[in-house]
């Protein structure tokens, strides 16, 4: 006899048998999703009527409907759903009962909300000392900005990424697909796992307090370090740093800054290549030579054919020389397509890559060959939707689709009925009173 | 205009809660294009049980199914400026607006009648509230039980030994909803004639107070208070229930029968009396009722004028009369205990003794009369893979029959149809409105 899906989830996964109560909105969806992908039993606790975030587009076939949000689908695959209003007295009691069954509680309410409900960590800890409570908020649970309102873009700004993104003649730019909340959710999952490991060894749960602003700051690479080490000096030279260079990168130098292009138009879109990584190190030099060879095969290397890349140093090259090289390379790029570029990059290690559109990604043979995509049946839509698959591959505990994203309150009968033993009358009562 | 539908050219915006759902259901069944405007996430009435196969789910509420047949559903949040903008666009296309918000709510949202009339001068707006739009209790809250209490119906529901009883199935809400459907159509006729719309203020309390039978006149003329008497009738104290033999509730072998007298002018006359006595006698259960004295008495009991005269002219004789009626009822009652309710019903009705039986819901569903008239109808619910049997229409119109053409809508089922195809909003706009909690 085969194993049921639930048994498989327990046996062949890293978090099988662990339960997560996911109270988050879009600020924290990714946390629960990540744990669910590792096999945890993540129960999305939605307000009766469904998460507000089910309203976020895009929608299946562009039909704005709470059961058709692709955004929600993407963030809630592998979770189960119950409806519960913790603000009602009954809901409050039920939640406390559920806490006993939970290993994790994830929430993204305003700081203090759970405490006000009498469900703050100090309360939960009394009920279930093993429980880990993870709170995801824009700025953390304490501090002068803890009550600041935020949106994804505000956090992108406050976290410092927006400042240096964009073009000089235009205000700083966000990314068109909101990202801040994903970072917050991912760091929350990481913090939860730290606490999980500790709990598993000691039996002690704890509270994990996540700041999305900080999570965003952690994508800044070296912006902070550059400011600390170079900032004042550059400021004295009236160099704005990091600068919004648009398609270009402005390299700070003691002399004048160097402007080099990063994003290049090509035959069928854009590609990315930088003069700044074309000299100096052995790898860079090899990359540049390979590129020139490719140009040469197309008869377009021109005077770069014998260029000495070993001597190319971005600290000393003049802007004129850089522009000259770029004009030749740029002409070549216009004649090649993204796919050719990528092929060359794989084959000869040129540091070059296509700027993929979403379509390019979905049609990228490499991902197909790796079996990245997962087809998930949505019987209610009478359709199959292709989802991005595992974030890492583990043969011993393979990623799986345990459930398609749940319908609103889909697992009320399982959790309330089968597990908590509520009789039907009680379920009806709770539904009518808008508790579940 | 759809020749099959009485109200086929009428569009109704339905902003009603439980007090008004039946109103818009009736109009939808009569062919009006009723657009149920639900809050994003669904109307709270969808939480009401019972549920399909007892699965408490907003798309499975039988309560909702029953009260929303033929309607279309959109989700729209009037709390938002955009929601109100869209609503105003829709309003231009509507003939009727039916709502049950607390008095002043729509006004506060800038959607009071005077405002909406500017947008759509022919608009008829019907507001249904517990106590109406004016008066000291206008802001008082009420559920059905408070409506039937304040309207006077509850006081005489039930038996004297029990507390007053709230009748089953929200009769206060039904009274209000039915009053509203009638009022709205009266206004529609006026609009047909003159093009003029108007505002209608319907009060649940007053709707209930309008169905109290003789209660009010008894107080008005006699200062007598009608109180609960049990046995399916009411009596104005201190007037006794003397009217006719076998008048009210009697137990029988498998349930209850309710009489409305025998031997009166409207209950078969003496011919009926004789048949009844013969039947009882054939089983040796007529006792002394076979005697002529009782036959005469029975006829007198069926004569209201006689009883009245007797009371005024011969108080003693009257008291006597009442005692005798009790005797008749006792013997008939004993006999009925040996018969089943349908046996009694089907036997005595052809004798023009107006008797009925207390039917359980199951009895009603299995009733051969209703079956013969094909009262119940089957409605497809494709999402549930089921066909559900519904009660049919309260009336049959020869040219424009009311009927269930479509099951109750899913949450926002017609958003695209209405917003995209009719109001011309783009999918991008709609996705935005969804995200903003507008639709």
């Amino acid at each position: 006899m085969g194993l049921s899906m639930a048994d498989q989830q327990v046996q062949n996964s890293l978090l099988g048998g662990f339960r997560v109560l996911d109270l988050t909105d879009e600020k924290g969806f990714l946390c629960g999703k990540t744990l669910a992908d590792l096999g945890a039993d993540v129960i999305k606790v939605e307000k009766p009527g469904g998460d507000q975030a089910r309203n976020i587009g895009p929608f299946y076939k562009d039909i704005p409907n709470r059961e058709k949000s692709l955004y929600w689908f993407a963030c809630n695959l592998n979770k189960r759903s119950i409806t519960l209003d913790m603000e009602t007295a009954d809901g409050h009691e039920i939640f406390k009962t559920l806490i006993n069954t939970a290993d994790f509680v994830i929430e993204s309410f305003d700081p203090g909300y759970m405490d006000e409900l009498g469900l703050g960590y100090s309360e939960l800890e009394k009920i279930n000392p093993r429980v880990i409570m993870t709170s995801i908020t824009p700025f953390g649970q304490t501090g002068p900005y803890k009550d600041h309102k935020a949106s994804d873009m505000i956090l992108w700004s406050m976290g410092g990424v927006q400042y240096s993104t964009g073009e000089p003649d235009f205000p700083p730019l966000q990314m068109s697909l909101p990202q801040s909340y994903f970072h917050g959710g991912l760091h929350a999952a990481m913090g939860s796992m730290m606490a999980h490991y500790h709990r598993q060894r000691t039996g002690e749960g704890q509270h994990v307090d996540v700041s999305i602003q900080q999570a965003v700051m952690l994508t800044l690479m070296i912006a902070a370090e550059v400011w600390e080490l170079y900032g004042q000096a550059l400021k004295d030279m009236a160099v704005i740093l990091p600068a919004r260079g648009g398609a270009f990168r402005i390299i700070p130098r003691i002399s004048s800054p160097l402007k080099t292009r990063m994003i290049w138009p090509c035959k069928d879109g854009y590609i990315i290549w930088s003069l700044a990584v074309s000299g100096g190190s052995a790898g860079n030099i090899a990359s540049s030579r390979a590129l020139i060879n490719m140009m040469d095969r197309n008869g377009m290397a021109g005077r770069l054919k014998d260029y000495d890349w070993a001597k190319m140093d971005t600290l000393t090259i003049t802007q004129e020389e850089a522009d000259d090289i770029e004009s030749i390379v740029g002409k070549f790029f216009l004649a090649v397509a993204k796919a050719e570029i990528l092929k060359e990059a794989v084959k000869t290690k040129v540091f070059i890559a296509p700027v993929f559109t979403v379509k390019d990604i979905c049609e990228y043979p490499h991902l197909e060959a790796r079996g990245f995509w997962a087809d998930v049946a949505h019987p209610e839509l009478e359709d199959i939707i292709t989802y991005p698959g595992a974030f890492v591959t583990i043969d011993e505990a393979p990623w799986k689709v345990y459930h398609r994203p749940p319908l609103i309150g889909e697992h009320n009968p399982d959790i309330y009925g089968k597990e908590l033993g509520f009789l039907k009358d009680r379920m009806v009562l709770l539904k009518q009173a808008n508790v579940i | 205009m759809d020749s099959e539908k009485a109200l086929g050219d009428i569009r109704i915006l339905d902003l009603a809660g439980p007090m008004g759902l039946y109103c818009t259901k009736l109009l939808a069944d009569l062919g009006a294009d009723v657009i149920k405007i639900e809050k994003p996430g669904g109307d709270p009435s969808r939480w009401m049980g019972p549920f399909f196969h007892d699965d408490p789910h907003p798309e499975k509420s039988l309560y909702w199914f029953n009260l929303n047949t033929n309607k279309r559903s959109i989700t729209l949040n009037l709390e938002t400026v955009d929601g109100r903008k869209i609503f105003k666009k829709l309003l231009k296309t509507a003939d009727l607006l039916i709502e049950t918000f607390p008095p002043g709510y729509l006004e506060k949202k800038g959607l009071g009648y005077s405002m909406m009339k500017e947008i759509n001068p022919g608009l008829i707006m019907t507001s249904i509230t517990p106590f109406g739009q004016t008066g000291p209790y206008k802001n008082y809250r009420a559920y059905d039980i408070v409506g039937v209490a304040m309207g006077g119906l509850m006081f005489f529901g039930g038996s004297p030994e029990d507390p007053p009883n709230q009748p089953g199935a929200s009769q206060g809400y039904h009274a209000a909803g039915l009053s509203a459907s009638e009022a709205s159509l009266i206004a529609l006729h006026h609009k047909d004639m003159t093009g003029e719309g108007q505002y209608i203020d319907v009060s649940m309390q007053e709707s209930v107070a309008n169905c109290l039978m003789w209660t009010m006149p008894f107080y008005d003329l006699r200062k007598a208070i009608t109180t609960r008497d049990g046995r399916c009738v009411t009596s104005p104290r201190p007037f006794p229930r003397i009217s006719m033999a076998w008048y009210d509730l009697f137990p029988c072998k498998d349930g209850w029968v309710v009489g409305h007298g025998v031997a009166g002018a409207f209950s078969g006359g003496l011919e009926a009396w004789d048949k009844l006595i013969d039947w009882m006698d054939s089983e040796d259960m007529a006792g002394d009722l076979v005697e002529d004295e009782w036959r005469v008495l029975a006829e007198q009991l069926g004569d209201a004028a006689y009883l009245h005269t007797l009371m005024v002219s011969d108080p003693e004789g009257f008291t006597n009369m009442v005692a005798k009626k009790d005797h008749i009822d006792r013997i008939i009652g004993n006999f009925l205990m040996t018969k089943t309710k349908l046996e009694i019903y089907d036997t005595v009705q052809p004798w023009r003794i107006p008797t009925t039986v207390i039917q359980t819901i199951k009895d009603v569903v299995k009733d051969p009369q209703l079956e013969a008239r094909q009262f119940f109808v089957e409605v497809e619910h494709p999402e549930l893979n089921a066909t559900v049997t519904y009660p049919g229409m309260p009336y049959r119109l020869s040219e424009t029959p009311a009927k269930i053409r479509r099951r109750a809508p899913l949450i926002g089922e017609h958003n695209q149809e209405i917003y995209e195809s009719e109001l011309g909003l783009s999918p991008t706009e709609l996705a935005g409105f969804k995200a903003g909690g507008v639709i």
Binding site: T165, H183, M190, W227, I251, C362, V392 | G436
Partner: protein, 422 residues
């Protein structure tokens, strides 16, 4: 040296990785109590060590803050795995370790006998974690490059920018700041799983696939609706105003911007009052998001006229006091001055023996009972040779000297000249 009560006390990690992803994975573990040994070599140093910013603009293997800041709390040893005896040392570390992190280009560790098959053979319950840009399998698995290239391939570049202009990168190698955390999560799950079952495992990461998780709504939109998401500047489908506005700047060398996002009607009304335009509340042109979206350009111009006159910080607090979401578009300098960032103790200055005092990033989360420990700055290359060889590998001074002489243990003498700047 380690705090007694940390979540990952006792976990032992060997790291063979460079650049952004691998080092950040182990840094996260080290900060929470794991003992991490980084295998480096002066002959092929981690390129980050050769990237700016440097102490006093002067390059040097131990002068880069970039090279330091991903290695907090770690131990660095310098051995050359290309030398015959190099891999043997690494294997000893494997025997000691719970986790082996392989962040090299696919195939690199095979030649050293440090691929997952080889090390599993000597240590069956090891957790092997391999990370690379496109994964270990598939036709393009050999692709290797910098994070900014992967950013372009994972679609983020194409959705950054203005609709009518070219796509743009964010300054960072974006995917380098998504992939590591996924690996940490998987590793922690695997470690607990191992404690429960005694079984080790192999975790392989394609950084592309990890990063695509952040693109999933757009991927579904294409797969279902055929829509190719594109660039939309700062616009939001259901919010207006939603953008970044210029503010008054006190210094010519800095620009000041404030981000403002107005979603609900209440926020819009509050916003109008803050910018002293109560008349807009009733103005049908701006009524509802519908109205504001239709007239967004005009609205943005009008708002900019107001914001230009005030410093960003003041606008932020005016807006926030009224309940409108607003935030400064913070420059790195602003981040250091941000009272919230200070309150969260995000930047942790440590005294680096070459660079001097400079800041390290703290994690974005705080664990209430087992807080992180950030006390050891990123090590100089080979800084912890002695500790590791003696305390962990129980080598004698003689052993060490032998390795030194053989060139297995590298020193500054082995370093290449002219590190590049980037």
């Amino acid at each position: 040296m380690k705090k007694a009560n940390q979540a990952l006390n006792g976990i032992k990690v060997v790291e063979l990785a460079y650049a952004g992803v691998g080092p950040q994975i182990t840094r996260e573990l080290a900060e929470h109590g794991a003992t991490v040994v980084r295998i480096e070599s002066h002959r092929a140093p981690d390129p980050l060590r050769m990237m700016s910013p440097f102490k006093n603009f002067e390059s040097g293997l131990n002068r880069s803050a970039f090279g330091a800041c991903y290695n907090t709390q770690k131990y660095s040893i310098s051995i050359d795995l290309n030398m015959t005896k190099g891999p043997a040392i690494a294997k000893q570390l494997v025997l000691w370790a719970d986790v082996f992190l392989d962040g090299m280009t696919p195939g690199t560790t095979t030649k050293w006998g440090l691929d997952h098959e080889s090390i599993s053979a000597i240590k069956p319950d090891i957790i092997y974690a391999g990370t690379s840009q496109l994964g270990r399998t598939g036709p393009d698995s050999a692709f290797s490059g910098w994070g900014y290239l992967l950013m372009a391939m994972s679609g983020f570049t194409n959705i950054t920018g203005r609709p009518e202009r070219t796509p743009l990168n964010v300054v960072a190698s974006y995917t380098d700041y998504i992939a590591p955390w996924y690996m940490v999560i998987a590793l922690l799950g695997a470690l607990d799983y191992r404690n429960r079952t005694g079984r080790g495992m192999v975790i392989n990461q394609s950084q592309l696939e990890s990063s695509l998780q952040f693109l999933s709504p757009a991927l579904l939109d294409y797969n279902v609706n055929g829509r190719v998401m594109s660039r939309n500047a700062n616009r939001h489908p259901y919010a207006a105003p939603h953008g970044v506005f210029p503010c008054r700047s006190s210094e010519t060398s800095t620009e000041q911007w404030v981000a403002i996002a107005v979603f609900s009607d209440e926020e819009w009304q509050a916003f109008c009052r803050v910018i002293d335009k109560p008349g807009w509340i009733e103005d049908p042109k701006f009524a509802g998001v519908l109205g504001r979206k239709e007239n967004e350009e005009e609205l943005e111009e009008l708002i900019a006229k107001w914001t230009e006159e005030l410093p960003a910080e003041q606008i932020m607090s005016m807006m926030q006091n009224a309940g409108v979401a607003a935030g400064m578009v913070q420059s790195p300098e602003d981040l250091f001055n941000d009272p919230q960032v200070k309150h969260r103790n995000h930047f942790r200055p440590l005294e680096h023996q070459v660079i001097g005092r400079h800041s390290y990033n703290a994690p974005a989360y705080k664990l209430s009972k087992t807080p992180c420990d950030i006390s050891k700055p990123g090590p100089c290359l080979g800084e912890d040779n002695e500790f590791v060889f003696k305390e962990i590998l129980n080598m004698t001074d003689d052993d060490i000297e032998e390795f030194l002489v053989a060139g297995v243990i590298t020193t500054e003498m082995d370093a290449p000249t002219a590190p590049s700047v980037f």
